[in-house]
């Protein structure tokens, strides 16, 4: 059974008295033990998609249509109480800045133990195990430390440990290494790769970094201006990307080892939600634009099994 199934999800945001479409017909699935990389630039709708899954949409957002099922159970339309129950056992989220998710006046142990419904002594023991799982050196000592006594990398490990405590079906990681230095980022990414192997973690990995996706994801979904423009296996995305945006995104950044480092810009900028272009949202920046692009928004087409692209170039007439 799929851990997560999102079907035709459309979300609107209330901006200056009007409902503005922010997500358009987003469909995604994640199987057990799979890592799905969700990539795109700021404003593409990655985080809004993640918040919909956890039932954490902001107050000015409403679901226009669609369905989000976690382990077969519909998330949308649930009461706060039901959502709390769901978040407790099904889904855990990890965000960019660990400092804001740790209570500064409680020790790491105090914050971990309250997640276990166990006696104080057992919970303390389990907390140390949880810290060991995320490779925190000397967990017996760290458990009685306060967050400010730990480095950014260690704090992020603690947050990951907290997310894993209840053995959630799905972990959502939203840009969790963006605020870290590269050498520390490498440590956290190795940890994620290890957790995937050892505990079979199912992960929705949200990032703007194609390198991280290449190293960790099984499948990749590329988002642009509120839509999923392409979904495919990780090798397909890197070897045969079809959507002009996926291709351009891969070419913007040269690799560190390449002989001549050239930056290939994508002209223009991501459109504002309040003033979107007609037809395909990418057409004003697209090098392969033709007649239908400005007129109608392309529907997703399946090219091969598991490879979907929303582009008029690949539409079947």
């Amino acid at each position: 059974m799929a851990v997560l199934e999102i079907e035709h999800l459309s979300v609107e945001l209330g901006i200056q008295g009007a409902w503005i479409p922010a997500l358009h017909e987003v469909s995604l699935t994640i199987e057990r033990g799979e890592v799905l990389g969700l990539v795109g630039e700021s404003g593409s709708g990655k985080s809004l998609t993640a918040l919909s899954i956890a039932g954490l949409l902001p107050a000015n957002a409403r679901v226009a249509k669609g369905s989000v099922r976690l382990m077969g159970e519909e998330v949308l339309g649930k009461t706060d109480r039901e959502l709390n129950r769901l978040r407790k056992r099904s889904v855990a989220m990890i965000f960019q800045n660990p400092t804001s998710y740790l209570n500064p006046v409680l020790t790491i142990g105090d914050q971990l133990t309250e997640l276990f419904e166990l006696s104080k002594r057992d919970a303390w023991r389990r907390s140390i195990e949880a810290l060991r799982l995320v490779r925190i050196p000397d967990p017996e000592r760290v458990v009685s430390r306060y967050p400010f006594e730990l480095s950014g990398g260690m704090q992020q490990r603690v947050v990951i440990a907290m997310a894993l405590v209840r053995q959630p079906h799905l972990v959502i990681a939203d840009e969790i290494t963006t605020a870290l230095d590269v050498t520390v980022q490498a440590q956290i990414l190795s940890l994620l790769a290890e957790l995937r192997r050892t505990i079979g973690m199912t992960l929705l990995l949200i990032t703007h970094d194609m390198g991280i996706v290449a190293q960790l994801a099984d499948r990749v979904a590329v988002m642009y201006s509120g839509s999923v423009v392409e979904v495919a296996g990780v090798r397909t995305i890197f070897e045969e990307p079809k959507h002009p945006y996926s291709r351009a995104l891969l070419e913007t950044v040269p690799t560190i080892t390449s002989e001549r480092a050239v930056f290939r810009p994508i002209p223009g900028a991501m459109p504002a939600l309040t003033d979107p272009p007609s037809g395909c949202r990418f057409h004003p920046r697209c090098a392969e634009v033709f007649e239908p692009c400005a007129k109608t928004r392309p529907e997703p087409t399946s090219l091969t099994s598991g490879h979907r692209v929303a582009c008029h170039r690949y539409a079947r007439g």
Partner: protein, 328 residues
């Protein structure tokens, strides 16, 4: 590096007091920049990479005289920065400009772009009157590929990419020879990043500029720089021509930085975390080689003696007791 240098940094140190002396307890210092020497040849791009706390930004502030060094000398175009009188200082400010990371923070939210861009021209006496100032600003706006219409707007009415272009235009308008780029693209998306970097490269060629590029992004540094210096806790640990440094690094810290970058190729080897732990605080700099607590190859000598930066290959300097150990 026998070419004439536009900037010559000689053993520069900047310490900030962090704790006061108290009954025989010695005062502590943040050793932000702890003995830096390098030269930047005219017309080249000198890249500085390093993680948080390595002293990159303090270095930028020292180079534009927003901070005074604790010791050492900075010579720009033959003039010692410590010796500049008022007239010379104004001339220096005209020739040396900085573009900071966050364009939003570099712009007054209530000032129109026209006023934000003409202001430095007036302050630095670049042009005699307002008409000529506007003329120069329009030229600069065109150079960065913006429509002069943006001059009527306020910062919040612009996109991140437009704001960064405007900050670059403001720096260009005064006619600088040398621009310090402090993380110029870390606040914009990748597609915009490529636009800004291509623009900076084109401007450099057209205007004959020299750049000092400060970045934590190795891919950006590699693509933009001729010479690269790797900083760690206030010191340069390795310095070489860009291609040489990234393909044949000698210092284990440089190797760790390079291998930490996730390669955008699913077939390539997985992420290697070669550096252990986190960057220590610049208040408590480790003994000996300052990288030794994180270095998987550290031996006794590394804990005891600080290695000197020396030329180990032609124009390739490194400060390590076991250079090239990570490559073996």
């Amino acid at each position: 590096m026998g070419e004439p240098a536009i900037l010559d940094v000689q053993d520069v140190v900047k310490h900030f007091p962090a704790g006061r002396a108290f009954f025989g307890r010695r005062g502590t210092h943040v050793r932000a920049v702890d003995g830096l020497s390098f030269r930047i040849p005219r017309g080249r791009t000198f890249g500085v990479v390093g993680e948080s706390g390595c002293g990159k930004t303090t270095l930028a502030m020292l180079l534009v005289k927003l901070l005074e060094p604790t010791s050492g000398r900075i010579v720009f175009d033959g003039q010692d920065l410590a010796q500049l009188d008022r007239t010379a200082l104004r001339e220096f400010r005209r020739r040396v400009q900085v573009v900071f990371q966050d364009p939003y923070g570099s712009l007054d939210p209530r000032q129109t772009m026209a006023s934000a861009l003409t202001e430095p021209l007036a302050t630095l006496n670049v042009v005699p009157d307002r008409t000529q100032a506007m003329e120069r600003v329009r030229e600069a706006i065109e150079l960065v590929g913006l429509d002069p219409e943006v001059l009527r707007r306020l910062p919040h009415e612009l996109s991140g990419g437009q704001r960064q272009r405007l900050v670059i235009a403001r720096a260009l308008a005064v006619g600088p020879r040398f621009i310090i780029l402090d993380e110029p693209t870390s606040s914009v998306d990748v597609s915009i990043q490529a636009q800004i970097l291509s623009l900076l490269a084109a401007l450099k060629a057209r205007q004959g500029l020299t750049y000092l590029l400060i970045s934590h992004n190795l891919v950006v540094t590699r693509g933009m720089s001729d010479i690269v210096a790797v900083m760690y806790l206030g010191r340069i640990v390795e310095m070489a021509e860009s291609a040489e440094l990234f393909t044949r690094p000698l210092h284990p810290y440089s190797s760790a930085l390079i291998s930490a970058i996730p390669v955008p190729d699913p077939e390539a080897a997985t992420i290697a975390a070669l550096a252990q732990g986190d960057v220590p605080s610049p208040v408590n700099i480790p003994s000996g080689c300052r990288y030794h607590p994180r270095c998987p190859y550290a031996e006794r000598v590394c804990r005891e003696q600080e290695p000197a930066l020396s030329e180990l290959r032609a124009r390739h300097h490194a400060a390590c007791h076991f250079p090239g150990v990570a490559a073996k």
